[in-house]
Symmetry: D2
Subunit: 223 residues, 4 copies
């Protein structure tokens, strides 16, 4: 069975991704800040901003399963606030969680993937990947950074067989937490399992038709 790593395997989209790929006969392993038991999933506690920890976790997996076929970068990191209430630590930690973590992850996996016949590296973007809104100084800057990195990875590694895709998630993902926070009709939220299906499709695009960027939003979402 091929290995898929979901880095940022929180409840919600993270779990839905693990679930989708497990159903599709992958060995699905999650990395998360806290390794709580969640159903049947193999979720390992890995601080994605710590390259030592990421390398160790990836090496252990590769020893057992060989290089991953699919790697998904999906940590959270949303931070909203006025410029003058955003500390330098906020700004830096947001970038570490969102962008540096992708660099560390890519360095740990893309070469073994390329050497092993290729695969897919899929990144979760957001509305803020394309538009720096007021009060999004930290988060938009971090998500822009992630998008720039993703494009560079695509241009360097796609010719070597690693498909790199960036998914713009332009809406609220349905979860207990987002239902509590937003007074939004749940039918106007994106279902984690519907998003996961798109990642599944991207991960299996044939080499003749690779997507670099795709957006997703609820049909009722203004944009």
């Amino acid at each position: 069975m091929s290995l898929v790593i979901v880095a940022g395997a929180g409840p919600g989209l993270g779990s839905a991704l693990l679930s989708r790929f497990a159903e599709g006969d992958y060995t699905a392993v999650g990395f998360a800040r806290t390794a709580t038991q969640r159903g049947p999933f193999d979720i390992r506690q890995v601080d994605l901003t710590d390259s030592q920890r990421v390398t160790t976790a990836v090496s252990a997996l590769m020893e057992a399963h060989g290089p991953p076929k699919i790697v998904i970068h999906n940590p959270a990191g949303l931070l909203i606030g006025p410029l003058m209430e955003t500390t330098q630590d906020d700004f830096e930690n947001c970038w570490r969680a969102v962008a540096l973590s992708a660099f560390i992850l890519a360095q740990a996996v893309v070469k073994p993937m390329a050497d092993n016949g290729g695969g897919a590296f899929i990144v979760s973007g957001a509305t803020a990947s394309l538009r720096g809104g007021a009060r999004f100084a930290a988060f938009a800057s971090a998500k822009f950074a992630l998008r720039g990195l993703t494009q560079s990875l695509a241009r360097e590694y796609q010719p070597l067989g690693v498909h790199v895709a960036h998914v713009i998630l332009d809406g609220i993902i349905d979860s207990d937490r987002s239902r509590a926070w937003h007074s939004l009709d749940p039918t106007r939220m994106m279902k984690p399992e519907d998003i996961a299906e798109v990642y599944w499709q991207l991960a299996h695009q044939p080499r003749s038709t690779w997507t670099q960027e795709v957006d997703l939003r609820p049909h009722s979402e203004g944009f």
Copy 2:
């Protein structure tokens, strides 16, 4: 069986789309400039730039099958040449084939689709939809026009249930004709059936996750 209309049903991608949706249990009907027999497909001769002809053809189909569930806009229209060798007729005909035809088609179908529970309207874009290159005055202008129209349709009709998606085809589509024209390794071309699969996926995205724009290119294509 639900109806799918492929407007611009030439050999290559047009046929692959008809084929994919027919396999998926749709009544698949093509509109093409010339209605040559091509395998098992129901291809009707319709000049897509003639609103009278389009309306008549769509009405006939709706009488037999009800409003379409899926409509795909996929006419050709590539035109390359220096500005001073592009006649006003060239410029105008390119826009008619590429952009006006989409307006005419949309006016014929999106309201019945919205009134009938929704559906998907999918449009074939190109590299020239995003970048006006030298010698592409006519074609880039027409493809930009098509993209602007598509965005407007999405914003007006998605809240009414009609998903509007724009596919950036950033590469050469494999066909006998393109093999003859381009000295390009066929493994570096997009396979029509691979593209058709993406249209199929877009057409069936659940309302929680609709794509407005997606790009596709061969893994080896520079961009």
Copy 3:
């Protein structure tokens, strides 16, 4: 004195452009649908969608003044309305006014400009050049078409010495008419003379630093 042609020389921005370049010691000539007397300006009645009329008008000017140094494409053409209330004539006329007119104008001037040492061809874009909003099917499609054409012109003619610039006017231009139509505080509108100053600056950029696209909006405008 060098010649500047302002195609689309209505009151408001058109007049401000004529005024700014006349002050700067250009022979400033306007083309407008109706050649009403407006102050000191030389405004000629030219239907910009009629290539015969444009060619004749440009030839007459070139005979008297030589090829223009600066050409500005600035016709109006705003059209807003739901898809189903936009007729095919509306859609087509909007494109003719906005995009075809630029093609015709470019064909009449860019080669003589290139052969005569170069110059600048500056185009007025709008918010709808970048975003196809609901109810903007015709106008956004036409403005997108204009932008694609402009990019192609830039890539073909800048190496030959003709600077091609596209100005995104993202806001309401202050005028008697717009004050009557919009219940907007005039301090939140763009002053025609402030816009004209930017066109002046673009027209005189040295070859080492040419702008292809610039946006302008009132400081209070959301975006």
Copy 4:
């Protein structure tokens, strides 16, 4: 005399900016990593990635001159290399030099500027601000981050009177260093003084017409 701060006041564009604003009757002060004497300019040694140092330097200037009218963010930071030869320190230092420094600078100046009647905060972007090329993992990611931050600043502070502009420098800036590195005809490079003129123009745009983003490239540059 009003104060302008040029953060990133190296030879080349930095000096040209100091020069242009000094000529225009500003008190022009540069921040640079190393405070070598360069002609008549007041250049202070400030590590832009050290918020303590930046705050101290800005406070000293404000005490003497009041809040700055114009602040320009222009540090270097170019880094090119394959992903696997880019260390985590490279990636992080590039982001610190390019993006974090802008956050620190903005926090030090935009509120006093807004409280003091407004001003302009102008940021130097690059080709890599819009496109993540192969071998640009660090630099493109950092420049994307800077652009996202700049957009957020514009949307938060323009309504408060601080104009925030992002300049895409799409080409090689002429300098002794770039002449030595690139085998490029100097007539195909951007002159620092021509770029500086654009910053001057942006800094003085009236509130009715503010530019958020503008690109600049030599007329001969492909794009």
